[in-house]
Amino acid sequence: MSSDVRFTDFKSDKQPTWCPGCGDFGTMNGMMKALAETGNDPDNTFVVAGIGCSGKIGTYMHSYALHGVHGRALPVGTGVKMARPDIEVMVAGGDGDGYSIGAGHFVHAVRRNVDMSYIVMDNRIYGLTKGQASPTSRSDFETSTTPEGPKQPPVNPLALALASGASFIAQSFASDALRHQEIVQQAIEHDGFGFVNVFSPCVTFNDVDTYDYFRDNLVDLEEAGHDPSDYEAAKEVILDSDKEYQGVMYQDENSVPYHEQHGVTEDMSEIPDGAPEDAMDLVREFY
């Protein structure tokens, strides 16, 4: 790990194919800066990405990375971190990827409290498949597959995380660059599962949840004097559907990450050349 890592070291030489103005640009910049700022470098970082416009992020970043199948990025990240507690693991995806097809994995990744960060680019729409309703779409949001709106309330990912026993819950806005970077940084530094839902506007398919909308409606929790260690206060902001918040909603100061609870500390990539020395004991067990 070198101390002179710049955030551009985390950039790959692939040009993003995102639409000009897509929120994912800002989201990614903040992620790269946060990784560099927290002392990581591409050779000790593993980024796992889901499927969707958001999931392409792994392609545009430079590190050890895996771009997997739709909705299953969290289990991959979990596996990487189990095998290599020494590696920084960041998982990224979209709202469809994380809260629809991957919703089951989300709940379990949260409750396992594996020490990794999970960044969800929430544009409240399916971007890559060209504009269908996502689990976070408003109930009256008209899309190609829901001409009259989904007519179901949106998933509240923060509440889902809270109910699943999350130790770190935050929300940021791709275009508020500094705050977004700070929040991701805190998620990385958190001892456990650092979950950040990022408002990352889709300029092509979502004309409701726009930059202007978030700029006008966003309340910054830090400015509002919110105390993230106060569970009751966290519950209140997380369940408040009248406002949009950014900042760390909740952080469990006593969080014990999975690997500490389970004593998973070794680099599992190292194995002996033949069977382990005392392996005959394994056989003798069956006497």
Binding site: S12, D13, K14, P42, D43, N44, T45, F46, V48, G58, T59, H62, S63, Y64, A65, L66, H67, G68, V69, R72, L74, P75, V76, G77, T78, G79, V80, K81, M82, A83, R84, D86, I87, G104, H105, V107, H108, H262, G263, V264, E266, D267, M268, S269, I271, P272, D273, G274, A275, P276, A279, M280, L282, V283, R284, F286, Y287
Partner: protein, 585 residues
Amino acid sequence: MAEDLNWAIGGEAGDGIDSTGKIFAQALSRAGRHVYTSKDFASRIRGGYTAYKIRTSVDDIQSVVDRLDVLVALTQRTIDENLDELHEGSAIIYDGERSWEAEIPDEMTAVDVPLKSLAEDAGGAIMRNVVALGAACAIANFDVEYLDEALEKRFGGKGSKIVENNKKAARLGEEYVEENYDLDHLGYDLETTDNDYVLLNGNEAIGMGALAAGCRFYAGYPITPATTIMEYLTGRIEEYGGHVVQAEDELSAINMALGGARAGARSMTATSGAGIDLMTETFGLVATSETPMVICDVQRSGPSTGMPTKQEQGDLNMALYGGHGEVPRFVVAPTSITECFWKTIEAFNLAEKYQTPVFLVSDLAMSVTEQTFPPEAFDMDAVEIDRGKLVDDDTIDEWLDEQGRFRAHAVTDDGVSPRAIPGTTDGAHMSTGLEHDELGRRTEAQDERVRQVDKRYRKVETAQEREDWEYREFGNPDADDLVISWGSNEGALVEALGYLEEEGTDIRVISVPYIFPRPDLTDEVEAADDVIVVECNATGQFADLIEHDTLTRVKRINKYTGVRFKADELAEEITDQLAAEVPAK
């Protein structure tokens, strides 16, 4: 008659049938006798008939037969279910004091033992099964002392008092039978030897193989009959710095194992039936990202939830063809419990040497059968580890392009690319299920697509040349007729040879542990008059492959009742097939 003994205990699920059977099996093994066990169980936890059967001999035995000599019946159903296998010389131990009145056919020997009262005398009714074991020892002329070690093993953790009580319970059972019955006419007299044996089942052998092979990360989701692999590894893998995660589902399990493997750990998942279907989604990703990992499928009766506790070998086509698109893979299928151990080690080596998913295909019969072996059958000194083209800080340079980027999917002559695990300096790279170039970057360029598809398949070609895709052979190599089998049928087939020989029938048996790539059997098939393929499925999936490879029609013996082949039954079927008309070549 004196040599072989077929013993069983049966009752309701939840009656402690399994652990009682296991204690007796261990005692026999300690006495230097070979043991082969099988289980009848229904897919429920409480209630429902269940039985643990033991066949024991001083000779090596590898299958079950249709005979029961001593039966401990805790319920009438135990007797009814086994009527076919009981014979005139059979002894049936039951508790006449219990509320059911045992209906035992006249010609058999009813041995009424007050199991519950004697257990209470020894310290608690819960030990009635152990009293029955003592009674069984008396009938079989087997020294009750051999039970002691097994009882210590089973109850040692609960304190010496419990162990002593159990030993007493066994002796009370033995004494009761000796005092109240004269059973010498049955002629059972179990010989003992000084041989040391270990007793284990196929799933334990797979788990042990995984540990020996350096598997350090296992993610799985419980499903019969694969779960015991996970149970074996849990609590043991930690000793070697590893970890087991019970995932939320199979989709997660295989993706976790994928993450572990990409991080450099030898990683594995195991499942069965419906679980394999769920894993299929990620299967192509494992192959396309060229991730070395082992996926174990312990087959059971399908399709859908089918018969979860019954034997079948119906997943062969799934292992060969499952997944969308065209996916290079290896499919390895152990043919015995020792092979479960060795082939698991080989599966890990193949996975890392060729950076592919390896399907390790076992089956229910092998997974629940416990069998005795000399410990040297699992000689750990013979274990070799090959991690393939793993590069490190010093060797990575030759794989960097002009701009210093790591060519993780470099197109090479043998199709195998270098592999850098996280932490390797300059090794940072992207892996993806999308088609990609040498650097792992997405591409849809036609020539690049073709280069990468060819490269991935070239690994299989290379492996086909370099590895030894041997088969196992039994019987008379010069016999006119050839029987081919895969998976756990080998044991029954090998024993069937003895029965056939008695009838004057000579056959050559080939048992194939590799499904893909697999040995070319064209010469062997062409040299034979009759070729019969034996397997536990309805459609003859392996027979189809043999016909495809050799352009020769083969005869088939298919069993899909949910019950494994028995040696005597198989001998009869082979005789029938040999007499049947030869299908057109």
